[in-house]
């Protein structure tokens, strides 16, 4: 099976380990990833400024994927939610379809709405399946305590995200447990990480992150686990900055799900970029059986 991999813009500079670990895990699972040069921003940062520009950028990606006849696999909740939302609007609203479609026609692109937008977790849970994930493991993790962070746009709004229950989700927990970790029950599991206002209102963004870290610690977690570029940037880079600014914070390392799963699949720490995180996650290696 092949997917057009949708990498999320800041990852190539700030989160290389996500690209590396995704590639390695997908290769191990026998999934082909195609990098399409023509992809552009999912439109997420444009929504505050000009919704039409967001739709244009987002829909263009769907058209490009259509040209290559490949479904899209995203590794970021914002990309996922925004592409799906744009797809939804294109189906529902004839005047938008005409306007946005018309602009894209000028560069020879067509929207027929045939492309499926998948999130990494959605693909792993629904297509690969927990059994397969367990079977493919060559190493077992010795139950590290993990607080699963879902992130917003994989859950909400429900009719767009279509992944799991927005109130009581469990699929990511199951995926983490399938990888040999212990998923902790905690209060702020479905709350926002704060990333979308970082750079606009840093105090608020850090408040959100701090709240999440405190709640996860309270539940006894040793790691956060995420599957979104912005959430990981927030829990890794920004939490590090937070540690420098607010002295009473005890940093909680955040591991990407692809890194966690990669370890179980026997992929080496170097390939997974385990040492590239800002707040070290190398403690996870102590849990390797």
């Amino acid at each position: 099976m092949n997917f057009a991999i949708f990498r999320c813009c800041p990852a190539s500079v700030l989160l290389k380990q996500y690209e590396k670990s995704t590639d390695a895990v997908m290769a191990a699972l026998g999934v082909g990833l195609v990098d399409i040069k023509e992809f552009n921003c999912c439109g997420h940062p444009l929504k505050n400024y000009d919704y039409k520009a967001y739709l244009l950028a987002s829909v263009r990606n769907l058209c490009v994927a259509e040209k290559y006849n490949l479904n899209i696999l995203t590794v970021c909740n914002c990309c996922y939610g925004n592409l799906k939302n744009a797809d939804h609007i294109m189906r529902e609203d004839a005047s938008i379809r005409e306007e946005i479609g018309g602009i894209l026609n000028r560069e020879g692109l067509r929207y027929n709405g045939v492309i499926k937008i998948r999130h990494l977790l959605d693909f792993l849970y629904n297509d690969v399946g927990l059994d397969q994930i367990r079977q493919k493991q060559v190493k077992t993790l010795n139950k590290p305590k993990i607080a699963v962070h879902y992130g917003c746009h994989i859950l909400r709004p429900r009719e767009i995200a279509e992944f799991d229950s927005p109130e009581e989700p469990s699929k990511f927990d199951q995926l983490v447990e399938a990888a040999g970790a212990q998923s902790m029950d905690w209060n702020a599991k479905v709350k926002c990480c704060g990333a979308s206002v970082f750079g606009v209102n840093d105090n608020l963004a850090m408040d959100m992150t701090e709240m999440k870290v405190n709640e996860a610690r309270k539940a006894g977690a040793e790691f956060l686990c995420v599957s979104c570029v912005y959430c990981q940037l927030q829990f890794d880079r920004v939490q590090k900055m937070l540690g420098d600014k607010r002295k009473n914070i005890k940093p909680l390392p955040s591991i990407l799900y692809t890194q966690l799963l990669g370890l179980c699949l026997g992929i080496d720490a170097e390939t997974l970029g385990i040492h590239q995180n800002q707040i070290s996650i190398s403690g996870i290696l102590d849990f390797m059986g």
Binding site: C9, P10, S12, V13, L14, K37, N40, C41, H44, P45, L46, K47, N48, Y49, D50, Y51, K52, A53, L55, L56, A57, R60, N85, H88, I89, E92, D93, I96, I103, R106, E107, C152, H153, L155, R156, P157, R158, P166, K191, C192, G194, A195, S196, V197, F198, G199, V200, N201, D202, L204, A205, D207, M208, M211, Y230, L233, R237, V238, M241
Partner: protein, 588 residues
């Protein structure tokens, strides 16, 4: 006479070229762009550059330089990686032109020194000259095809690109026509006979002439085909004795010969009006114009681009002397060839038409940045366009990754962004996730500098909304404009606001409201109040509330609303409206 004119023109254009070169290189040390260069003097930058260059030459880094020079400069690896057709185009033009320059234009200095038997009319040199010319022409043809027929989305072609293509084309075409005109010219034939022939016998000359007309395409007013076999045989004999040693068959100059065939109906007229001399002047003039104007045209990349590639390979942001980075960033502006690779890969380029702002496209920003760096006062409109252009960037690094001349564009945008924001024009993009990268890099500037643009944007919103206060704090219900209605329609089902009955669920679940303890001093309004303000038709009340701009877009409110109000989507519509209206108010 021709010789003297030639010399005057040559030395004049050479002089302009050298002065231009000195001027352009001096700007690398005097022009400034961005945070880094502000407090660094020209002298510091000059000496830092010398020290840096020596440091590279006398260290292991010289190996990197050699590697980059071979792979990226000579083999143009970075172009090949991105686009094979463009690589072919550039290799043809670059190598064709360089070889012509060395073998043909500078034959006194190179060909004659290297090859003792060099003579431009003798093979292989005669053939090679035409071959190299053909390479360049093929390259130019690909360039024309790419720029004008392929229709690559958002690839812009400006007057400098036209100039570059035209000057190369004129040099090449005039050269080929000149060669063709010479091949068929009877006058040329006569003067060659006089100069090299040492022939007195009229009959012998006539036989030679017949032979050249029959075999080599010379057009003669005296003799015409068909020729007597005997005369031709005599002509051949003379040719072999007198000409052949220093003149290969003109057919070997295949492009010129073909051009001659086309020109031959006009050959006698050309001879009469001195066609060869005219073409000679055009060819020389084009070369001299190209030389004199080189430092000021995009052809200057011949010098700046290799330096940019090398500088970027041996420098890095953290370790290099800031003075050298400041210098490099100016040099990079000259290295840009306006090839448009960055623009075709730009992650937000697709929005440039919608916003009617070409400065969103990386390749189009460079010109405005050059003006900014030179210290020229830009108009407000120009500044705002460039500011929007550099802020509307996801910092995906693709422009930098693909730049064939290795310009660190992303770093350039960062610097220009901060320079422009200091000018105090509100940039509402600061209130979007485009600010994320700036937030991550906040440590690179003072806190005041970091916060200023955010305050300016918020302040502009507050200013625009303050008009409401003027009327004694009583807000008149207004009818929503058509645009507002349209905007509310674009985000899916955003017109659901009218279903709100103020149950306050949204305000209760909102993580932002919760974080601030529902403090209206900070938030202005909480979500359910904002829905009521929309129902009342007073969106201005919402624009100024902190809650709107602090909204995380997490969709908790929308998810929990028992009435199915698309609160988060409505917030997006309101933010768009606020920015639209305030921008319009400011510009009117």
């Amino acid at each position: 006479m021709v010789h003297m004119v030639f010399n005057v023109l040559l030395y004049t254009s050479l002089g302009i070229f050298v002065l231009g070169l000195i001027y352009k290189i001096s700007t690398w040390f005097t022009w400034k762009v961005g945070l880094l260069s502000e407090d660094i003097t020209t002298a510091t930058r000059f000496f830092a550059a010398i020290k840096g260059a020596l440091g590279v030459i006398f260290s292991a880094k010289i190996l990197t330089v050699v590697k980059v020079f071979i792979l990226d400069v000579l083999c143009e690896r970075r172009i090949l990686k991105e686009d094979a057709l463009r690589w072919l185009m550039h290799m043809l033009i670059f190598y064709g032109f360089m070889l012509l320059l060395l073998m043909h234009a500078l034959d006194n200095f190179f060909s004659e020194q290297l090859f003792s038997d060099f003579y431009p009319t003798v093979n292989p040199f005669m053939f090679l000259r035409d071959l190299f010319g053909l390479l360049v022409i093929a390259g130019v043809a690909i360039a024309l095809y790419r720029r004008f027929i392929m229709k690559i989305p958002r690839l812009k072609t400006n007057s400098m690109d036209h100039y570059a293509i035209i000057i190369v084309a004129v040099i090449m075409i005039s050269g080929i026509l000149l060669e063709g005109a010479k091949i068929i010219s009877h006058g040329e034939f006569q003067s060659m006979v006089e100069e090299y022939g040492d022939l007195d016998d009229e009959e012998e000359i006539a036989a030679l002439e017949s032979f050249w007309v029959a075999e080599f395409g010379v057009v003669s007013p005296n003799v015409k085909a068909p020729f007597d076999e005997e005369i031709l045989a005599q002509g051949r004999e003379t040719h072999e004795a007198v000409c052949a040693d220093c003149h290969s068959a003109p057919q070997w100059a295949f492009t010129g010969y073909a051009a001659g065939k086309v020109l031959s109906p006009m050959a006698l007229t050309l001879d009469k009006i001195g066609g060869v001399d005219i073409l000679l002047y055009i060819h020389f003039l084009a070369c001299f114009v190209g030389l004199a104007y080189l430092p000021f045209s995009k052809m200057f990349h011949i010098i700046a681009s290799p330096l940019s590639l090398i500088a970027n390979a041996v420098m890095d942001l953290e370790k290099s002397d800031p003075a050298n980075i400041a210098t490099r960033q100016i040099m990079e502006l000259d290295a840009c060839t306006h090839c448009g690779t960055c623009t075709t890969r730009c992650s937000v380029g697709v929005t440039s038409e919608l916003f009617k702002n070409a400065s969103i496209l990386p390749s189009e920003k460079i010109a405005a940045i050059k003006a900014l760096a030179s210290g020229k006062e830009l108009g407000e409109q120009e500044i705002r366009h460039l500011q929007e252009g550099v802020y509307l960037c996801t910092n995906c690094h693709r422009c930098t990754d693909v730049c064939p001349v290795g310009i660190n564009l992303q770093e350039l945008w960062f610097n220009v962004r901060e320079t422009l924001l200091k000018k105090g024009y509100p940039e509402f993009l600061t209130l979007t996730p485009f600010s994320y990268y700036r937030g991550i890099n906040s440590g690179r500037m003072t806190e005041a500098q970091y916060l200023l643009p955010l305050k300016t944007a918020k302040g502009a919103i507050e200013d625009a909304c303050r008009q409401i206060d003027a009327e004694g704090g009583v807000v008149p219900p207004t009818k929503w404009g058509d645009r507002a209605k349209k905007q509310l329609k674009i985000t899916s089902d955003a017109d659901t606001f009218s279903h709100c009955f103020s149950c306050t669920t949204c305000s209760t679940v909102c993580p932002v409201a919760t974080n601030y303890g529902n403090d209206l001093e900070i938030l202005g309004m909480v979500p359910h109040q904002m829905m009521q303000a929309v129902i009342l038709g007073t969106p201005e009340l919402v624009y100024r509330s902190g809650m709107l701009w602090d909204c995380l877009g997490c969709y908790e409110c929308q998810q929990h609303c028992p009435q199915g109000v698309h609160i988060t989507d409505i917030f997006y519509a309101l933010k768009n409206l606020a920015i639209d209206e305030i921008t319009e108010k400011r510009s009117s």
